[in-house]
Amino acid sequence: MKPKLTLLSAAILSASLSLMPALSQAAIPQAVDGQALPSLAPMLERTTPAVVSVAVSGTQTSKQQIPDVFKYFFGPNAPQEQVQERPFRGLGSGVIIDAKEGYIVTNNHVINGADEIKIGLHDGREIDAKLIGADPESDIALLQIEAKNLTAIKQTNSDDIRVGDFAVAIGNPFGLGQTVTSGIVSALGRSGLGIEMLENFIQTDAAINSGNSGGALVNLNGELIGINTAIVAPSGGNVGIGFAIPANMVNNLINQIIEHGEVKRGVLGVTGRDLDNELAKAFGLETQHGGFISEVMPDSAADKAGIEAGDIIVSVNGKKIKNFQELRAKVATMGAGAKVEIGIIRDGDEETANVVLGESTSSSGSADDALHPMLEGAELSNSRKGIEITSIAQGSPAARNGLQEGDLIVGLNRSKVKNLNALKEELKNPQGAVALKVLRDNKLMYLVLR
């Protein structure tokens, strides 16, 4: 009996062993040297229906102004101002974030100026969308469609992603139709690029091209981590440097648009600069990442929470920040009234301040006012003769555009501007290049901001 038992056990052992590979093969489809080779297909089957194409059309109007001399010579018979209308079409991508309500998020630059917005769904349906609201400074817009059987993208906390995580871009590059590209997260908290007014990008090497704008950047679980927005393209196409707006920032903005129809910018009420090597040394700090606070506005949100000039802000809601611009982008997109935990370093000790963000008085106001990305680094103030540039930061976009300390801004393109508010108003919808009329040493000149 004993040998028989052993024999039978051996038979069953070998039978179960020979069964095992078949079973494990069912679980892991492919393997090389024992390492699983994952395919993105199962995740994409669930995820791609949530990404749509956005087709826009409209007419671009450009006014042709009649020079004053004409009016002088022809009097009332002078030719009327001509308005040129040119039809345009555009293509981009969008992401369904609420299947029940039909909410779709995309980039503002995709739908800017459009009269008609058509959504192309993954299943082939084409549906007209209406614009619920947009935030040009962060380049986010919210659309709505009326349709059944929509698939919404899965959400996740985009603060949890790390450099090195896989990232998958889904969109409609060059209008080719839905396209999936893969890469990794190349960097986080990227700012200072001069693409948007508020920047806090995720950088990725997944191929992003024109038409991908407004599309989804997802993780391996198919959860939205960002909205693809821009690329660095020295020769026009992708070179492996793309930028996406983090999902958390998008959600903050969308919630405000849904609630108020617009973005109520949160304001901390501080001015400051990046913490750099020299400042860190001067203050005896170990960290070199953060925003140095040089001034706190009285009665501002920061003031009420006890933040003082000289503090260094190192984190927002427990997430470390790299520089002042990242702080600015985060605060400005969180929405007025948002409760924020700000981590600061004061006299070498880490402390936290609980801040309730104030509301911006002007629509474009934020942590520190930059009127135009290319004016960044210039401090402006109203003076009797015009808008005076009181100081200018070395190597800043403003300095690179040729502005100098003491310059007086007296006009923009062809209209006069008298004060900061007027300039702000004119710069609200900058289209292409902006020419500043500047008075320098009693000489008038035009500086073109690019």
Binding site: M1, L5, L8, S9, A10, A11, I12, L13, A15, S16, L17, M20, D33, G34, Q35, A36, P38, R162, V163, G164, D165, F166, G183, I184, V185, S186, A187, R190, L193, Q203, D205, L220, V232, P234, S235, G237, N238, V239, G240, I241, L275, D276, N277, A280, T287, Q288, H289, Q394, G395
Partner: protein, 360 residues
């Protein structure tokens, strides 16, 4: 034997068999895990595929390299930093590997670490042929991020790699791809030795790190394939293998330059036609096609149409091997070269000269 006994007998066997199978599979899985535990596989900490741990190991040691230029148009003491490229901290002493072409035009070089620290640096040495340079910063030895390296693990085609650098001076960027092709590995003449990758490499990535999924340095990123003035973006990029870079670094630290031996000839591989014409038994050897009139070979009476078959009693299979052996020989040393001239073997003593950087 009744029915109950049969069941008992069968179930004993089944249970024992299954237990043995389970034990076998368990042991098997442990050994498997050990041998394939690098980077890409899921780790115990995160149940997720990511290169984050590899990035954490290597990225702090990859630095941004700037040139400091005084601004003529601005008030005194103002200066601006111009982004040049990237570099990799190799040792506690603060030695940094980068490309020669990154630093060749700079007067004053500033190194910026990822934690914000900035240092001025000196050039320890540079080598035009391999496009490598070594810089040194004075840094507190207890707080230096060093890149992990493994010289005995050559990269292979198909390996997943990450490029770390500072493209367009945007700030540190990690891109991912695979090894697309490799040249030879670990040789010192510098020619044809490269790694090709499709990980995105752009202007500013030069001198940065190419790492494997375990975070270990496998190459120094050097160039992107360009079509005309169009720049990169074609997915064809090159890196210098770490074994070559590491040996060049050692020489630069010791001598400030790479001292290479030179013979003063040009040669080519033996073609079947030439082998027949010269009546040689096989295709091994290097055909001398030209002799520098002032070079060591000329002094040793080597002439065109000689075929070098041995270098220091070692047979010469091809051009690359001969080039490496000559380069590795200390200038001034005498070596014996065996050639075939007019069908007869002949041994010639040659005093090896030094290869000058301007030589091609």
């Amino acid at each position: 034997m009744n029915f109950k006994d049969t069941i008992l007998y069968l179930s004993k066997a089944v249970v024992f068999g299954l237990v043995m199978a389970a034990v076998f599979l368990f042991v098997n899985s442990i050994t498997n895990n050990n041998s394939f535990n690098n980077g890409l596989t899921t780790t115990q900490h995160h149940n997720e595929l990511s290169f984050a741990s590899a990035v954490r190991r290597a990225a702090p040691a990859v630095v941004n390299i700037y040139s400091l230029s005084l601004d003529q148009n601005s008030p005194l003491n103002s200066s601006s930093l111009q982004g040049l490229g990237s570099g990799v901290i190799m040792s506690k002493e603060g030695y940094i590997l980068t490309n020669y072409h990154v630093i060749k035009k700079a007067d004053e070089i500033v190194i910026a670490l990822q934690d914000g620290r900035k240092f001025t640096s000196e050039v320890v040495g540079s080598d035009q042929i391999t496009d490598l340079a070594v810089l040194k910063i004075e840094i507190d030895g207890d707080n230096v991020p060093i890149v992990p390296i493994n010289l005995n693990n050559p990269a292979q085609v198909g390996d997943v790699v990450l490029a770390i650098g500072n493209p367009y001076n945007l700030g540190q960027t990690i891109t991912q791809g695979i090894i697309s092709a490799t040249g030879r590995n670990g040789l010192s003449s510098g020619y044809l030795d490269f790694l090709q990758t499709d990980a995105a490499i752009n202007a500013g990535n030069s001198g940065g790190a190419l790492i494997d999924t375990g975070g270990e340095l496998i190459g120094i990123n050097t160039a992107a394939f360009q079509i005309g003035a169009e720049g990169g973006g074609h997915g064809i990029n090159f890196a210098i293998p770490i074994k070559l870079a590491h040996s060049i670094m050692g020489k630069l630290i010791t001598n400030g330059r790479v001292i290479r031996g030179a013979l003063g000839i040009s040669g080519e591989p033996l073609s079947p036609v030439m082998a027949q014409i010269l009546n040689l038994p096989d295709l091994k050897g290097v055909l001398v096609t030209g002799v520098d009139p002032n070079g060591p070979a000329s002094k040793a009476t080597l002439r065109p149409r000689d075929v070098i078959i041995q270098y220091e009693e070692e047979s010469v299979p091809g051009v690359e091997m001969l080039m490496d052996r000559i380069a590795e020989t200390t200038p001034g040393n005498q070596v014996n070269i065996t050639i075939i001239r007019e069908g007869k073997p002949l041994e010639l003593p040659v005093v090896i000269g030094e290869k000058l950087p301007t030589d091609s």
